[in-house]
Amino acid sequence: MQQTSRRRPFPIHVLVFLAPAILLYTVFMVFPLINSLRLSFFEIGSQNQMSFNGIQNYIKLFTDSNFAPFFWRALKNNFIFFAVHMLVQNPIGLLLAALLAEGGKLRNFFRTVIFMPTVLSVVIIGFIWQLILNPLWGVAESMLKAIHLGYLFGPWLGKPETALITVSLISVWQFVGIPMILFYAALIGIPEELTEAARVDGATGWDTFWRVKFPIILPTVGIVGILTFVGNFNAFDLIYTMKGANAGPDFATDIMGTFFYRTFFGQQLQLGNPTMGATVAAMMFLIILTGVFLYMFLWARRVQTYEL
């Protein structure tokens, strides 16, 4: 027992506990990510050899007629996709959470049912909605007719003007459970004394919500926002399932994820290009990182967290 000396050697059991996690995480996540970023500065020659070509890939992505129009469209579409989630999914999630937090016997039932689509695979959800919206089956049309809105029905998924909004809303329908449950958890954490005090002062439920509860759950609003952002700029499955890798009609539903997949693996007329794929992924990385930093430094630091 020579452990009496002040400077003990690095304890071996700590290494044993940490090594597997650090190893797996480094080899299968950190290293490939860094390697992808590195590859975005290379080009693959005809003999499959790699050569460094600086920022040529980025210049190509922003200016070449084979890439630039697709890139900018995918970026724009992705922002629309994100905007629909922020404007529809998160407010509905907040509304449902506020109603659930009021209590009532059926609360658990509603919670379970509304969260249900969230646990299903995006592939399943995509196909289900393709069937529901299919004019051949006519289910959506009969539903609309039943509430005298039949004239609104159209081939929403097939028309370039409506396809992107339609897939965005399907994604909202599936994932509304996540903001709902996060807001709900934050709302039921507010001590009763606070809302009780407001009620005694004669505030209505509406006032209590916006003046007392909402400021308290602002940190959760930020978390929901950044989770939505990261999730949306990483989305792929739904559009690939419903509209294929070409994100039709006429690339109307193309977002960064589908653009990345096509660039990497190619499509009918174009061969895949791993280093250009890496360049697209690097741009996605940059966008997501920017979002995370904006959240951390502009939102999370300024929003007051109330110690309850």
């Binding site: 700590v14 044993v16 506990f17 940490l18 597997p20 996690a21 650090i22 797996l24 995480y25 080899v27 299968f28 996540m29 290293f31 490939p32 990510l33 992808s36 509905i92 449902l96 109603l99 009532g104 059926l106 039932f109 509603f110 379970t112 049912v113 509304i114 969260f115 249900m116 689509p117 646990v119 299903l120 695979s121 995006v122 592939v123 399943i124 196909f127 289900i128 069937l131 089956w137 006519g138 289910v139 009969s142 329908w173 996060l182 934050a186 039921i188 954490g189 950044i226 990483n234 792929f236 499955d237 990497f264 693996f265 791993p274 794929g277 890496a278 992924a281 690097a282 990385f285 997501i288």
Partner: protein
């Protein structure tokens, strides 16, 4: 004041409007799923003729399920998904718990840096490294193997698992561990002692790790697209691509793919949702 009709009307409305909204939204959430489930048990004529009706003796048919079981390798897909999900889950929980224990229990040089390094992966989606992952898998000869998928899923799930578990492990009373140390227990024994104490957290993380792995399309599509290694999600996606016009087959395969997750969800939904909301009412 309190018994005026207006006040009572407000009371009634205040109680019933929330229920009404929640009911309507629940119908919106359930309706598309129910339509697929119901119609998968009907003959083609009834699917189109009376889509909203439950199957009866005249319209009941299992033709879709027959097509699916004869044409698609569903048992293989289920087996693959189960192996990948289960192995990745066990590895994530074990390896994640070990790292979380080290970070929360010992004050070693570089602790804070290690924690920061590991938590960077929480916000950065692993998909962005796909080009690098595919190259790595090619050089390790792990393309079209379930092992490749498992390794990626474990790496992806570790950051959040470690982050959450180390917070739970910090709450385990120190006296307990110190008493064991005085009795001469090794650090590995103490880890084995702490693990059951964070069981609720392990359960919750387990469920939330499982669902995205089971549902993932991206990595099966890119790393293991062969018919032998296809998971349920990929298998269904490819099967549906070929049988788009066979409505019976489409509806039945969707139902088959949904059922296991729905059952799991209905059984565990209380624990699942409870685990998120538990943090709020500490």
């Amino acid at each position: 004041m309190k018994s005026t009709p207006l006040y009572r009307l407000q009371q009634v409305l205040g109680k019933s409007i929330p229920i009404l909204i929640l009911t309507i939204y629940s119908l919106i959430a359930l309706f598309p799923i129910a339509m697929v489930l119901i119609n998968s048990f009907k003959a083609k004529k009834a699917i189109f003729g009376a889509p909203f009706e439950l199957p009866d003796s005249a319209t009941f048919s299992l033709i879709g399920y027959q097509t699916v079981t004869s044409r698609a390798a569903f048992p293989t897909y289920f087996l693959n998904s189960s192996i990948v999900t289960f192995t990745a889950l066990v590895l994530t929980l074990l390896i994640g718990a070990m790292a979380a224990f080290a970070l929360s229990e010992y004050d070693f040089p570089g602790n804070a840096m290690t924690a920061l390094y590991l938590s960077m992966g929480i916000m950065i989606p692993i998909r962005l490294g796909t080009v690098g992952i595919l190259r790595l898998m090619v050089s390790l000869r792990l393309v079209n193997t379930l092992t490749g998928l498992i390794l990626v899923y474990v790496a992806q799930a570790l950051p959040l698992t470690i982050f959450i578990l180390s917070q739970f492990m910090r709450q385990v009373p120190k006296d307990l561990k110190d008493a064991a140390r005085i009795d001469g227990a090794s650090e590995y024994r103490i880890f084995g002692m702490v693990l059951p104490l964070v069981r609720p957290a392990l359960g919750a993380i387990g469920i939330f790790t499982m669902i995205p792995i089971w549902n993932d399309l991206w990595f099966p599509l890119i790393l293991a697209p062969s018919s032998k290694t296809a998971t349920v999600t990929l298998g269904v996606q490819q099967f549906l691509g070929q049988f788009v016009s066979d409505w019976n087959a489409v509806l039945s395969s969707l139902t088959l793919a949904m059922i296991p997750i729905l059952i799991l969800y209905i059984v565990f939904s209380r624990q699942m949702i409870g685990s998120i909301t538990a943090g709020a009412v500490k």
